[in-house]
């Protein structure tokens, strides 16, 4: 096992370098952080519906009769 962070030249934001290291398995098995990028939003952050807060805390504002008719339609 060889820790990637022990190599000061290793750059974990370099995707190509990570791919090269990923192919090593044998006398040298790299461990540690191969790659990280922070410029992409997570899925929940890309969904505007969730901007107001978690879905579980939101009021769906669906009247019971509307919900019931919806369920009956699907049954």
């Amino acid at each position: 096992m060889k820790k990637l962070e022990d190599d000061p030249a290793y750059n974990s934001t370099d995707w190509m370098a990570a791919m090269e290291k990923s192919l090593l398995w044998g006398d040298e098995i790299p461990i540690g952080k191969f790659f990280e990028r922070t410029d992409l939003p997570a899925l929940h952050a890309a969904e505007p519906v969730l901007d107001a807060g978690p879905l579980v805390h939101s009021d769906p504002h669906i009247p019971p009769d509307v919900a019931r008719s919806f369920v009956e339609e699907l049954m």
Partner: protein
């Protein structure tokens, strides 16, 4: 991902101990991963009720029962699909997904790929022992060529998947490998994975007990 330090009580390792003791074989690498996850949660002081641990099926997928957080033990290979639902329902939770190489790269290979490209904000920890351990030793997607198992007693003839390369090409935004016997290093990787905003993939070499499988600590295989 993490909602750090919300309660006033200082959390200790005992606070994350589950009510059930692990039933893993003596010497299994999964013990090391469990301890590292508990230590990471203590270091980050994430309250138990803000953590959900989700798994599929397999030895390592018994994980949610051994840790004191919310937990879901789901279907074989489907843990990431369930975790996506949990995260989208309440994105303030810290969502941990645990499983093995068969569960994640075999049965769950489809979900693995799509959860990465969607950049779902969960930490996926795969305890890779290169074998189906719960069923006492069949060839898995990461079994090395030539490795002798109960399903391939004359040696594996299939090329293994490379989880790190797979994660990189599928668009994972955090990719790491740890070793279950290096607690300090593994704990740091888990902490980084929890704090990363997006999909974090951490494969951990977690050799199974030599009494049940053929994988040894040096990565080689025996009959």
């Amino acid at each position: 991902m993490a909602t750090v330090l919300a309660d006033t009580k200082h959390l200790a390792m005992a606070d994350f101990k589950g009510k059930v003791d692990p039933d893993w074989c003596p010497g299994c690498g999964d013990f090391g991963v469990l301890a590292a996850v508990q230590k990471a949660l203590v270091d980050l002081q994430i309250p138990n009720h803000n953590v959900v641990t989700i798994s599929g099926i397999g030895c390592s997928s018994n994980f949610p029962g051994f840790i004191n957080t919310y937990g879901m033990h789901t279907l074989h290979g489907r843990a990431l699909a369930v975790a996506t639902g949990v995260k989208l329902a309440n994105h303030e939770l810290t969502v941990l997904v645990t499983g093995g190489d068969g569960d994640g790269f075999g049965i769950g290979g489809n979900h693995f790929m799509h959860t990465m490209r969607r950049n779902v904000d969960v930490l996926y920890i795969v305890m890779d022992n290169q074998i189906y351990g719960l069923t006492t030793g069949q060839t898995s997607p990461t079994s090395r060529v030539g490795m002798k198992t109960k399903s391939m007693p004359f040696g594996n003839i299939e090329s293994p998947v490379n989880p790190i390369s797979l994660a990189l090409t599928a668009g994972a935004t955090f990719v790491a490998r740890g070793f279950s016997a290096d607690q300090k290093h593994l704990t740091e990787l888990i902490k980084q994975g929890i704090q990363h905003q997006g999909f974090s993939f951490l494969t951990s070499s977690a050799p199974a007990s030599p009494t049940t499988t053929t994988t040894l600590f040096n990565g080689s295989a025996r009959a």
